[in-house]
């Protein structure tokens, strides 16, 4: 890139911010956790995660964190994912594949409506 003008500097800043966004533990609207235990991975959780990341980029979603966690305890229903939106109880989804996770993203995360067909239940186990 050649010498910048003020406008070009601001444009570059916007672009660079995207990359940096996930480096801070800042405010987000929520997160999607893909369960990546050995059971999940062998049932196809890697594909689910990749499809999810791809869809998030395509739709330009900026306020959702995608993260992974271990086996959720129901190995028979893997791949699983948990959607945690701020201010709402977490929702666990089971028996996922590439298409299902994208639908969950569209309908639940963006649209605000839980995809009942794939949902196992609302809330988490009691901890402690």
């Amino acid at each position: 890139m050649g010498k910048l003008t003020i406008q070009e500097l601001e444009k570059l800043r916007e672009k660079a911010r995207e990359q940096l966004k996930l480096r801070t533990t800042g405010e987000t609207r929520g997160k999607i956790i893909v369960h990546m235990g050995t059971c999940g991975i062998s049932a196809g959780a890697r594909d689910v995660l990749s499809a999810l990341l791809e869809a998030i980029e395509k739709k330009g979603i900026k306020d959702i964190i995608v993260t992974t966690s271990g086996c959720a305890g129901m190995c028979s229903r893997e791949p699983m994912a948990t959607v945690e939106l701020a201010g709402q109880p977490p929702v666990k989804y089971v028996d996922l594949d590439k298409d299902k996770i994208v639908r969950i993203l569209e309908e639940h995360v963006i649209g605000g409506k839980i995809v009942k067909e794939y949902a196992l239940g609302i809330g988490s186990e009691r901890v402690g």
Binding site: L20, L49, T67
Partner: protein, 604 residues
């Protein structure tokens, strides 16, 4: 595609020497193995501050903090956390008094109580990538001053903020810029003082290594304010990584047109060059630094005429410290009012009226969490040493904290509630200095500490003026004599007289502040000097001539460990029977004291 995880790995000098680059290599290999390279980014950052726990990796966006990693740990870490999403407890930080580790960085006490302005980008950006800096509002302040502020307005803003020189002098930055702007001259210059020479101080190095562009942007703003076209960075040879990152940053800024001719199309020209110094302590002093920059011997001159009027090549010159400059862009963006609301005192009428903003300290010595901390001015020394620093290791007793580098003073426990503030520290006989903080405990001898620093300064005195050159030599002689058990009745009086003369008569601040380690310890720990001289006793057991090692026959089990370790082989006795030390051959190395498991060796 944006990365799902960012692994922020510290590549400051401390972590690099703890093999951070090997960790990066191992991470790359393992991440590739699991096909995670499109999802997980490895970002080398500058010093994260918690040097005691390096090498450090912070996993974002979750903020999970991993410490003391070795290459052996990496395969497990990558598979467990980055693939399977299970944060690994055993690599997390566990404070000494707790059983459970603390997973998240922001909850670790060391980080919790800090406030970052100069270090705002630490651990968040890759210092070798200008785009990262730009994303964090980099060069926005420069654009703002070039498009919407006159140089006078910039000076007014910096003056109103109360920003004072972070290199130790504490001179109001805005006033310095104003004098320089007003001074007539063919050309004006801006110099960044990166000649950090205090033993145990590494604030400036860490800022440069972690965020070089913040310093460059501060320099460009200073240049605009004083009307300079050329800037220099004077940095010591001992900081190779800092030099490398500065040079890279300058090149990147030039490529973007943020340095050079017609910056951002606004008609403002400014460029920067790096000049390396050979590492003489005195070259941190303004006039000595400028002499060295000109290629002359680094000696200070008398300052009847200040460097803001006749500095580099006898032209008006502004010299600012690294940390001062790193604060400037933030003040321009957030405003003087915001900055002056942090800290102590009131600077609205008088720029010397308080200490505003934050200060970076490097915490070293006998403290659990050695590292780099940035705290609001006015915080107590106790909070820094005990809350952030985590107290003294091995349950030992705090003795003193030295602030302000070798020519700072020692502050005793009774004054630990003193606020960190330019004027309060000077009043207590120490100084803010550049921000080195060395903690000493009951095992350190105060006379020996004073002797160490005086010997350091003796070697670093340039020798141009008599009070400093001869005063330090005489002080060193007396202190060495006291430590060797040959102290004389009137030695304390002599030290005080020498100290006063040096303060009054030295040419520059090196000589003027050099007696501080002696004068402040005489003020607060006089009885230890007296013990050394009159009773020939060193209570900390450091001064070899004044201590003896003996073996308590009641406690000795005759395990033979000390006898085998003794380099003089002067410990005798049969196995399972009490041993004895032959005093005539003992060199007082203390090995027996250290190796005895039964506390049978007595040091007196």
């Amino acid at each position: 595609m944006p990365y799902r995880l960012n692994l922020m790995i510290c590549t400051g000098t401390a972590c690099v020497s703890n093999r951070a680059f090997d960790i990066i290599e191992a991470l790359e290999k393992e991440i590739k193995k699991h096909n995670l390279d499109a999802e997980v980014a490895i970002v080398p950052t500058g010093c994260n501050g918690f040097c005691a726990q390096g090498p450090i990796v912070v996993v974002q966006p979750d903020g999970i903090f991993y410490q003391r990693l070795t290459t052996k740990d990496i395969p497990y870490l990558v598979e467990e956390h980055f693939l399977k999403g299970r944060p690994v407890q055993k690599f997390m930080y566990r404070p000494p008094e707790r059983k459970e580790p603390i997973p998240v960085m922001s909850e670790i006490p060391f980080f919790k109580d800090q406030m970052l302005i100069a270090l705002r980008n630490r651990g968040l950006i890759n210092p070798e990538n200008i785009d990262d800096y730009i994303a964090r509002d980099g060069y926005k302040a420069l654009a703002k001053v070039l498009t919407s502020m006159t140089p006078e307005q910039v000076i007014q803003e910096i003056t109103a903020s109360g920003l004072r020189g972070r290199g130790g002098g504490g001179f109001p930055t805005g006033i310095k810029w104003k004098y320089c702007r007003q001074a007539p001259g063919k050309e004006h210059y801006v110099i960044c003082n990166a000649d950090e020479g205090d033993p145990g101080a590494f604030m400036d190095r860490s800022i440069i290594e972690g965020d070089p562009h913040s310093v460059l942007e501060g320099m460009a703003i200073a240049a605009y304010a004083v009307g300079a076209k050329q800037g220099y960075i004077y940095v010591r040879m001992e900081y190779p990584l800092a030099v490398k990152r500065f040079k890279l940053a300058i090149q990147q800024a030039r490529d973007y047109g943020l340095l050079g001719k017609d910056i951002l199309g606004c008609g403002f020209d400014f460029d920067v060059e790096v000049r390396r110094g050979a590492g003489a302590f005195v070259c941190g002093e303004s006039t000595a630094l400028m002499a060295s920059l000109e290629g002359k011997v680094g000696e200070p001159r008398a300052k009847y005429i200040h460097t803001v009027e006749a500095g580099l090549w006898m032209q008006p010159t502004v010299l600012n410290n690294v940390e001062t400059l790193a604060n400037v862009p933030v003040i321009i963006l957030k405003g003087a009012k915001w900055f002056s609301s942090i800290g102590t005192g009131d600077v609205s009428e008088n720029p010397w009226g308080g200490s505003t903003g934050t200060k970076v300290f490097s915490l070293a010595g006998k403290v659990n969490n050695t590292g780099l901390v940035e705290v609001p001015m006015g915080i107590s020394l106790r909070d820094i040493v005990f809350k952030i620093g985590g107290g003294i290791p091995k349950g030992k007793k705090f003795k003193a904290v030295q602030t302000g580098g070798p020519s700072g003073g020692f502050i005793p426990e009774s004054l630990l509630d003193l606020p960190v503030d330019f004027d309060a520290l000077t009043e207590a006989g120490s100084m803010m200095g550049s921000g080195g903080m060395v903690v000493i405990d009951e095992d350190d001898c105060i006379v020996d500490m004073a002797r160490y620093f005086i010997d350091f300064l003796k070697g670093e005195s340039c020798g141009k003026c008599t009070p400093c050159r001869e005063g330090l030599r005489a002080m060193s002689e007396i202190l060495n004599r006291i430590c060797e058990g040959k102290g004389q009745e009137d030695d304390i009086d002599k030290l005080e007289e020498l100290g006063r003369t040096m303060v009054d008569c030295s040419l520059c601040a090196l000589g003027g502040s050099a007696p501080n380690p002696v004068l402040s310890t005489l003020r607060y720990f006089r009885e230890e000097y007296e013990e050394h001289i009159k009773q020939r006793k060193c209570r900390a057991g450091v001064c070899r001539a004044l201590i003896t090692f003996t073996i308590d026959p009641e406690k000795c089990t005759g395990c033979r460990v000390c006898a085998m370790q003794c380099p003089q082989q002067c410990i005798s006795g049969e196995a399972k029977k009490p041993h004895r030390i032959d005093q005539s051959r003992c060199i007082k190395c203390g090995v027996c004291y250290d190796v005895c498991k039964f506390d049978a060796v007595i040091r007196k």
